[in-house]
Assembly symmetry: C2
Homo-oligomer: 290 residues x 2
């Protein structure tokens, strides 16, 4: 539970994918003395060099050399490549090692790994923190603090592996919750994936209109920035998330369009009493966000 520990929790970890999430994780673990050494695995030399220069990793190695040296392997890569890469890592680990993912979808991955002989060394997790930026330069200090981390299918992982992962996330200041993979995907469709779609669509709405006009750019105020911020998010990350969570996202998107149509109908029919009611309903979100 405490943020400070005497003994490192891990001697060596490998982060597979060296970007926003694993870079921020690495910074946090190092700053808290929870790890002695971080090895980075990346597809590109450019990313590796940046991560070394930024102090996110201590060494860069190919995955086959990195895994055997590591107590824990943390996989934070787009969800379309998560399945083959995680499988490959599980093929390499012993029952003393732990593999954790940080993916934004859980059903497809958990199903894919279900029959792997080393499944019990894998812990499916999703730290609910991120920004609209990606790559090693996007890594920040003091990430994760006060946020929730979801652990899925806890019962399918070895107890010692889960305990270590829980200790790690708690040391970063995260609050843990547990759910099955399907529940995770349904909830994240509502709380994260739809926010990205509305931001992308809002950006396109404005950009479409303002092809010829620059005035709008000067007018953009805090409210606009807030609602459209996520539209800067990386398509290489988000297309695979929407693919894997297609049915849940479609459900929420249909609901969202129908909610927008209520606002449209109020304006068309000049039914301002109902418009007031819709906004008062929306104000109840204060219950969730302070």
């Amino acid at each position: 539970m405490s943020g400070e520990v005497k003994q490192p929790l891990f001697d060596t970890i490998t982060v597979v994918g060296v970007g926003l999430i694993s870079g921020s994780l690495s910074l946090a673990l190092k700053e808290k003395g929870l790890v002695r050494k971080v090895i980075g695995v990346s597809r590109t030399e450019e990313t590796t060099q940046k991560a070394l220069a930024l102090g996110l990793i201590d060494e860069a190695l190919p995955i086959e050399q990195a895994v055997p040296k590591s107590d824990l392997i943390y996989v934070a890569i787009p969800v379309d490549v998560m399945m083959p890469v995680t499988q490959r890592i599980l093929d390499l680990v012993t029952d003393k090692q732990i593999v954790v993912d940080a993916g934004s979808t859980k059903h497809a991955l958990c199903e894919f790994l279900a029959e792997h002989p080393m499944r019990r060394r894998f812990v499916a997790s999703h730290p609910m923190w991120g920004t609209e930026y990606s790559g090693p330069e996007a890594a920040v200090h003091n990430a994760f603090v006060g946020r929730t981390c979801v652990i899925c299918e806890k019962e399918k992982s070895d107890a010692d592996a889960v305990a270590k992962v829980e200790e790690m996330y708690r040391a970063l200041g995260m609050h843990l919750i547990y759910m099955d993979a399907d529940s995770h995907d349904m909830h994240t469709a509502y709380i994260s994936h739809i926010s990205h779609i509305t931001s992308f669509a809002l950006a396109n709405t404005v950009l479409e209109k303002e092809k010829e006009e620059d005035a709008i750019f000067e007018l953009a105020s805090g409210g606009f920035e807030s609602t459209v911020r996520l539209a800067k998010s990386n398509p290489a990350m988000w297309v695979p998330i929407f693919m894997q969570n297609r049915e849940n996202v479609l459900d929420v998107l249909n609901e969202h369009i129908s909610q927008l149509r209520k606002f449209k109908a109020c304006l068309e029919k000049e039914n301002y009493g109902y418009l007031l009611q819709l906004i008062e309903d929306a104000n109840k979100i204060r219950r969730i966000i302070k």
Copy 2:
């Protein structure tokens, strides 16, 4: 252009409506030594008492007593009451005084005041700054800095009145742009009003789903908070804005729904190439917001 002045720009101003905008304006003018005294006019004793306690105003008076004592009268109230109140103030002023509004819509007000004998003492403005909170407690220090302020129909106001208002906004750190009232209303529909509707609708989408389930509240991360923050905004302010800017808002809302339908069609047809393209298009918003 400078933030510091030797001589106060105004001896006494009156703020009509004592909330987020006028409270923040008052704080900024006082801190920069731009005004000696601020009188507040409010419909409720409770608001008046809070504003006095918070140091936003120095004295509270009825509008008829406040106006004659003031060099400038700043009106920041919901746009449904803006027209009669601004008219009443113009009925009271001399050609040595200035009346400014801070309303989020401009066409209806400018049209309403067009034939008023004192129209030239009125400057139509819209500082593009705000938060989702309202009331005197919502007032903050250092508001407005770096934001844009729109001045409409500059040519219909006396040059000395415009010059004073420009000097005031520039002293607060604002950048000024000029447009006609119709252009203002069209642009703000895109850059501000639609953001509020998407936030309200997103809040209702999530709240509708999560009536029975609490898990989602724990999962809410920064991205969700960002897109849904504006859903906390005050309906008493926003219903009148949507009423007055109904046609522009409907245009943008229709466009936004059609943009969302493109995302929906991509998912339904599993056309991920086009989905990637839509997201890459949305990324171009980086041009507008850093």
